[in-house]
Subunit: 289 residues, 2 copies
């Protein structure tokens, strides 16, 4: 198996889009067509994955929403991860885990390990320091997986800590990026891109350019496009020559208005395909100015 | 039901110890007496809880290790949480969750919500900013639960980010504490203590005193005592008049050498009780100088 970065960039090139479909189950927004309960969520995402397989490079289950449904929801994440992979999609598990030593190794095993979700990549929180990343990096290197570190997020509260000015004048988030820089090589593939990725919120396009300078080979995971208000052009601000990461969209492609009004599965399918196609058209236009 | 802080401090006073028994399942270290697989882990902790109920104020399942065992391990955490509560123990779920908006609300529901683990408190990572804490605080206030924020951890890598000097000269972790200070009142109980707790690593006793000055009413969760090398006296450095939080010990009380050599359940039980009693004797001595 090739390096995660190579598999990701190849998937982006093949579909000609950096679209990452976020898998956020909102039971209230899943059309009645699918029935109710966990089975509705399972059926809903089975359809979403089928529509996404030719339209997105990668999917990103947001495990918080599955965990909120109880242990059965957690187990469903594993099932859907395997289903997405069987359809040829890469899976980024959005879990934002972070701990130290053997505990971090536990999370690494649970997310990208053979006995856990066996996802292709996982998001992690590095507030605990470099040693908290090591078990993830080691397992990712061994198993050709990716590790995606929260650097500069897309929420208003990102200002509270991430933007604090350090002695010397740089904001905290740049130090997080600098901490990653020496490790990027460990997950670099033949494409030259690294699977030690950074979360770079689309709502901060100027920061994305700065982050690209600190981490020239790291692929970016860009949240905040669509429902969170950032434009496609903002979302790709950290890209270079038309590539450099994936752009996540969840609610805009899972719950577009036309889909919520659909009374038949075919109408719903067409509405979802339209929403993904529209996102792709916007992203392609932003990448070819 | 009374505020989490009141329930915790009452439990500490009743057992006359701040001991928090960490529940870290290491399958290789669980004696053969218990059999193998998940059932061994379940049986092991059922015994641990029975021994701990009169010797510890609170228990702390480390969910990373359960997640590493797959979805069945995750489900087991819920079962053990309910079992501990049925035995009169409070449960801190050590999950170090952190995300934004509706995603953070998902984690809050999953950990301290009625549809999730319904634990008494949960550990969270605040790198994403104040807005990432809000859903936890709101649910905790509503349900008399606790929220425990990582401020200054006990690992060497804590220096990488938490200790960075901000413009003006203060380390980053003090700013995290300052961000919590205005919120502490929301989770204060009649005891005067707040269930908006802070993680204050025992390996940094001087920082604990500083942290106490910034957060005078917040109870502390102190990791790092025992296996991580901090003394009982270091562990209670942030306490005031003999109280102010709980001190976590995992491996030292779960896997003491005498227990691993035990060939009968009675011998094993006595070894575990001895290890907890020894921790309590040390902690009591440290608190009554």
């Amino acid at each position: 198996m090739s390096a995660f970065a190579d598999r990701l960039i190849e998937a982006v090139r093949l579909r000609d889009t950096p679209l990452c479909v976020g898998m956020d189950p909102f039971p209230d927004r899943i059309p009645a067509l699918f029935g109710g309960g966990l089975r509705a969520i399972e059926a809903f995402f089975a359809e979403i994955l089928e529509i996404a397989r030719t339209r997105a490079a990668v999917v990103k289950p947001q495990i918080a929403f599955f965990e909120a449904l109880g242990p059965e929801g957690y187990a469903l994440t594993k099932k859907l991860t395997a289903e997405a992979q069987a359809k040829g999609l890469l899976v980024i598990l959005d879990a934002k885990r972070g701990d130290i030593g053997s505990t971090a190794a536990g999370y690494a095993e649970a997310t990208i390990g053979a006995g856990g979700f066996d996802a292709d990549a996982v998001t992690v929180n590095a507030y605990l320091g470099r040693d908290s990343l090591e078990p993830f990096l080691a397992l990712a290197r061994e198993r050709n997986k990716g590790v995606i570190v929260l650097v500069r997020t897309s929420n208003p509260g990102a200002r509270d800590l991430q933007d604090l000015t350090l002695e010397g004048g740089a904001p905290l988030w740049t130090r997080v990026a600098e901490m990653l820089a020496p490790e990027a090589k460990r997950l670099e593939g033949e494409s030259g891109w690294s699977g030690l990725m950074a979360v770079a919120g689309a709502t901060w396009p100027e920061e994305a350019a700065k982050l690209r300078a600190i981490l020239p080979t790291s692929l970016f995971l860009v949240p905040g496009y669509g429902a969170q208000g950032a434009s496609a052009r903002d979302a790709v601000a950290g890209f270079v020559n038309g590539e450099g990461g994936v752009v996540s969209s969840s609610r805009a492609v899972l719950y577009p208005p036309a889909a919520s009004e659909a009374r038949t599965l075919d109408v719903w399918r067409a509405a979802i395909a339209d929403a993904m196609d529209a996102a792709n058209a916007e992203l392609r236009a932003a990448l070819r100015p």
